[in-house]
Amino acid sequence: MELCSFLTLDSFITDPLTHDFMRKALLMSSLVAAVCGFLSCYLTLKGWALMGDAVSHSVMPGVVVAYALGLPFSLGAFIFGVGSVALIGFIKQKSRVKEDTVIGLVFTGFFALGIVLVSKIRSNIDLHSILFGSPLGISLSDVKQTIFISLLVVILLSIFRKDLMLYCFDPRHAKTVGINVFFLHYLLLTCLSLAAVVGLQSVGIILVVAMLITPGATAYLLTDKFDNMTVISVLSAIISSLIGIYVSFWFDLETGGSIVLAQTFIFLFAFLFAPRYGIFKLKKLFAGYK
């Protein structure tokens, strides 16, 4: 890309849109960002950041096996994602090893299995694109699958929005009033596995955990209302994706990394300047001038 070709802001934005792969990448990444951003709120509030890390890495062998068997990779990812969580629970219960250690060893084991499987079942799986994402090279079938899974997750999260909030906030009350906590637990895990699968496409398996954590954490610093948190989280995720893709297009940078870096910068901005919870509370600064 020639740097001198974007003299105006207008061409900076519109030029990439002339490419079909860029339009597709922008659309897909925004969609994935919205899904991960939505889910991110629940993970942040539930204290499941490590779980997000674990599941997103553990889906790897599932994706590879599904590819090899010609099954939809969401199915493989789902089985291994939920399987890893079940295994974590089992080992934790049956041994004296602490939970964070168990999580760490299970997901790295799954991840390693995935890498070994890829090297064995070479065929048409590109390890690099699984690890680091390839939003600029999304195929049509991937587009369809991403849209389908994203919509499914968004619909599920929307229907059980309030129940999930209650589950994160006070599971004991949920149980006491007859809400199926077991179902909500696995619903959240299912959505997490599915989000990891679609996120894998745009930022890759290593960085998808950032998509699942950072937007929620950013929004958490900016508001005290759950509904606002959801909106801010989704918006910041989408904006980061757009920024990341444009920047990677013009400066020839790795796309997944650029998207996550954009999210990190937005988080840092919130961390420093959030009205109530930032280091330099903006509200207080302005109040000083009155």
Partner: protein, 254 residues
């Protein structure tokens, strides 16, 4: 064996045992409570108070014994919104981005449709409950901005909004201001008159004497159970607290 008419009892726990992965937290515990009774649950930390609550709400499964709530299973009690649980302040993430109104509305979730859309009656129940705990000025305040006492009242309001006939309160008086303590005391008298059954855990011996008709002393199992005046003796309390002299707990006068 005599047959018991379960309908007479709001809570009927018979020889219940709870263990967490083989570690016994509570064994052979019995409790019978009727409408309009207030019972204090007294024991050390780790004596099984929270476990007892968890068993009654169905949050943990009992490995042995039987629990009947209004003569029915715990599961149908959940469905019927029979039991309300008021957690201790420490058991709640106070930084959760949620307002007083939304917390109290959660008391109505069990009787709403799947989308949890509040009906006119739900809104009214929430309004009334918030009024009863005197938090009308804090409807949209995030719970993180409340004092310990206000937060406690928020969760009491949630229990009121639920319109449960049995209230389980975990340390209702810990970390609250005088005003809240007074309000909770008044509410207890009202609840009693409304025929609600209350089981509360507390560390404060004075509150037990003041409010509780019955007292249940536990240390992994029931040490003593009965009328407060009969059961709440220095000997029993010493046993409950693993040999610590009640002088230490009551002050030298008692």
């Amino acid at each position: 064996m005599e047959t018991i008419n379960y309908q007479n009892f709001r809570i009927e726990a018979e020889n219940i045992c709870v263990d967490y992965n083989g570690k016994v937290a509570l064994y052979d515990a019995n409790l019978r409570l009727q409408a309009g009774q207030i019972c204090g649950l007294v024991g050390m930390n780790g004596a099984g108070k929270t476990t007892f609550f968890n068993a009654l709400t169905g949050f943990v499964n009992i490995s042995k014994g039987k629990i009947r709530i209004n003569g029915e299973s715990v599961r149908s009690a959940q469905k019927d919104q029979t039991i309300a649980y008021v957690p201790q302040n420490e058991g709640i993430d106070s930084q959760f981005p949620i307002s007083v109104w939304d917390v109290v509305m959660m008391g109505r979730y069990g009787s709403m449709n799947i989308f949890r859309c509040p009906r006119e009656s739900d809104v009214q129940a929430v309004k009334d409950a918030i009024e009863r705990v005197d938090l009308t000025d804090h409807l949209s305040t995030p719970i993180g901005n409340l004092s310990g006492g206000q937060r406690k009242r928020t969760f009491l309001a949630r229990a009121i909004a639920q319109r449960a006939s049995i209230l389980l309160l975990d340390e209702p008086f810990s970390g609250v201001d005088i005003r809240t303590e007074k309000l909770i005391s008044e509410l207890f008298i009202q609840f009693k008159n409304e025929g609600k059954t209350i089981l509360l855990s507390t560390h404060d011996m004075i509150h037990v004497r003041e409010f509780c008709d019955l007292v249940l002393l536990i240390n992994k199992t029931v040490v003593a159970y009965g009328e407060t005046s009969e059961v709440f003796t220095p000997e029993n309390i010493t046993t409950t607290f693993g040999g610590i002299s009640p002088d230490f707990l009551f002050g030298p006068e008692s």
